[in-house]
């Protein structure tokens, strides 16, 4: 167990190194100039050059990156160019709302995805199955910003069921979380459906029926846990996709989270914040995958992490 986690953390550090490097490189190659953004339209070239020197932007790429890495090792994510505060503080203040939205969003995703997938598998080839699969297809392919705006318009503006946006209690959380959940559930319902259809044809389901068990017990005790096993690693992988959705949905709903921070800092070419948020996302994805790997052996006794 311990060697497994140590090795995984080692891999995770390598992944994070790669992520920071690629993000830094891409932003360096970007034609936008943060110094000019900060200085404003009317600034003289001297002022811009002074700002550039002050931020260390005139140094060669490798020096910039190495000094960033050095600071990172001290736990210093740098300071925002625009807001003049530490990136870690900016992120820290927004971490809680984002985690709330993520937990609720993934919860809805799984709840909707697994129950619809189950329903479709049990009613295979029926009208309901086709309808659900069409729905999941729309969910998978709908652009998040359009879906988020449509939901906002219908449920908040027209029907007035939810507040228009912003951060607050459960009522504020519901609509963005449902948006994320509905859009993300398509993957899960398709996966659960095909995995369940496979399990329904297994010999041990026939055994369970031959034992005279009720249909409900067969589905809940014998089919569902077996069908869920291949879905668990997907949740870890899905966190990356989910983070992308978070950026859009938080911006549309005015949710004061990491996603919104990322959106604002991209517009302002606030490089330290962008790299900080990207690194954090990478950490979230790595942690999600590690968690999924640790959970699977609890469900499936055949998987022994000591052998990996």
């Amino acid at each position: 167990m311990l060697p497994f986690i140590c090795r995984r953390v080692g891999y995770a550090l390598l992944i994070l190194l790669g992520v920071t490097f690629i993000t830094y490189l891409l932003l360096f190659l970007l034609p936008a100039d943060p110094a000019r953004q900060i200085a404003g339209r009317s600034a003289t070239p001297e002022v811009v050059a002074a700002i550039r020197a002050q931020l260390g932007l005139d140094l060669p790429f490798y020096q910039q990156y190495l000094s960033y890495l050095g600071n990172l090792l001290h736990g210093d994510l740098g300071r925002s160019y625009i807001q003049r505060t530490a990136v870690s503080e900016l992120i820290g203040a927004r971490l809680r709302p984002s985690l709330e939205l993520m937990a609720a969003g993934i919860g809805f995703e799984l709840l909707i995805g697994i129950s619809l997938g189950m329903l479709a598998a049990l009613k295979r080839d029926s009208f309901a199955d086709k309808l659900l699969m069409a729905f999941s297809f729309v969910g998978v392919s709908a652009p998040q910003f359009i879906a988020a705006m449509l939901f906002l318009y219908f449920f908040a503006v027209q029907l007035g069921w939810f507040p228009l946006g912003g951060y607050g209690g459960a009522s504020h959380l519901m609509l963005p979380a449902l948006t994320l959940g509905l859009l993300g559930s398509g993957w899960y319902s398709r996966m659960v459906r095909s995995s369940m259809i496979e399990v329904l044809h297994q010999d041990f389901i026939r055994t369970a029926r031959a034992k005279g068990l009720s249909r409900a017990r067969i589905v809940l005790v014998h089919v569902l846990p077996n069908a869920i096993v291949p879905v668990i690693p997907m949740i870890g992988i899905d966190i990356g996709v989910f983070m992308g959705g978070l950026v859009v949905v938080e911006s549309v709903f005015g949710w004061p989270g990491i996603g919104q921070l990322a959106w604002q800092s991209i517009q302002q070419v606030d490089i330290p914040v962008i790299v900080g948020v990207t690194t954090l996302s990478a950490v979230a994805i790595v942690l999600g995958n590690l968690l999924a790997d640790l959970v699977i052996p609890l469900v499936d006794p055949r998987i022994d992490i000591k052998q990996h």
């Binding site: 297994q202 031959a210 005279g212 005790v221």
Partner: protein
Amino acid sequence: MKPDEQPSLSVERLSIDVGGGASRRRVVDELSFALYPRRTLCIAGESGSGKSLSSLAIMGLLPKAASVPGGAILFDNRDLLSLPERELQGLRGKRIGMIFQEPMTSLNPLLTVGQQLAETLRRHEALSRGEIHQRCRAMLDAVRMPQVDKRLTQYPHELSGGMRQRVMIAMAMLCQPEILIADEPTTALDVTIQAQILELMRELQQQFATSLLLITHDMGVVAEMADEVVVMNQGRMEERGSLHQVFTDAQAPYTRKLLAAVPVLGSAPPPDALNEQPVVLAVKDLSVRFPLRHGWFETPRTVHAVEGVSFELRQGETLGLVGESGCGKSTTGKALMNMLSYQGSVKLLGQELNGLQGDALQRVRRDVQMVFQDPYAALNPRKTVFDLVGEPLLIHDKMPEARRRERVAQLLQQVDLPRDTLERYPHQFSGGQRQRICIARALALNPKVIIADESVSALDVSVQAQVLELLERLRAEHGLSYLFISHDMAVVERICHRVAVMYGGRIVEIGARDQVLHNPQHPYTRRLLAAVPVPEVGRRRDFKSLLKELDRPDPIKTKDFVAPVQRFSAVAADHWVAVE
């Protein structure tokens, strides 16, 4: 038949259709039989005879595609076919139990043995937790499960096939059903495990006064178990009668044909003596080891799959390699094909094969070919027969298409397939025909040696007999040598000149066929032969002594392990047995 007694189950004119609309097909046609208390009825038949579907119909577990246009299944004065699902659920597992063919996949991998057993009891009987635990324990004891308390907390993947089948039987017998249906319960198991399971079913039947409905393709099992026999073919009942009547005085031509095709141990004529023929393949101290994955601080360990195996194969000779699953017989075959790395020496016509690479290996490969067990998996479904059989010719000889076509047609003729099969795909053939295609492919390069790895095990007996005849004819015509890997003693007796018995990765007995099979010396060979069911009436065997497990050597050894040198003592001319 016992007309004075009420049958516990009677099936009357049962028909089953599969599919709907134009593709609707009758798979069981007017099947009738009666099962009496404490008696065993065997439904015997080859694949596609509808025997399994009939048993599923009794359980009410027919797949959705199947429908029952007519007939009745009477149990306890009720027709099971018209009973609502809820009432059927109450009967299943409680009054009618069922065991299936594949113990490896018939248990839920995510639940412990104890949970799966308890579930059945909870469903059918109002008992306290303690009572449930007691009953599960007692039933596992009844199926002679060693270390019962440990087993209850284990998961299915931690048990061997035989153990899992015992769990399945325990599960089916928990509520002491009046009827136990066993659908090919021993087909996937080794012959010694099969004997154990059959013995257990006999014992349980006595103990709980159960009627047993046994479905099997193996006439040996029928002879061992049945009181009454129903023979099915293509969905029709060919014959019904007592065991004695069916085996000694069969009325239907199909039954007579089926019984004639079954190889019976001890009935083969003596083989030709081939001691003068030149040695084609000489194997000396062949060992195959697989390293196990290990952690940073653990000592590396290896699986000793094959350990110090030596034998010779002469021209025109068939050497049978027999043993239970996991004994290393298939690994030996693969090593001879150079498909995995090994230690020791393999000489083909004097040329050392170990260590050959590249072109030299390619050249040698044409002399050693293989025919595999599963003809369904051994042929690429997207290639035509011409592509499949012609591929070796293309790879080794770069033969142009016109000549290749001629050669493939000739090969197909040799294995008795019509010439027009050239452009057809594997799915258009039956299992036996596919195995013929595999044999034609192996023959394409005129090999010296063919390794047949369980090549007839997946085939029905009548097809098996034809393929064996084909192999015999080709051997005689081309002077081929076969290494015939098999677990079926009767088949080995029919085709082999010499026999080698493998156990725990080593050869424990080797010699002339009749010596090894009829005068076995090693305890393992004796045990193996004692477990073979004989398809003749009046020779019913007592498998009780087989219920005790042999001590099995653990194949996993640490790196510094040195295998003790095996010594053989000569029992007779050309009959050697390992001395411990």
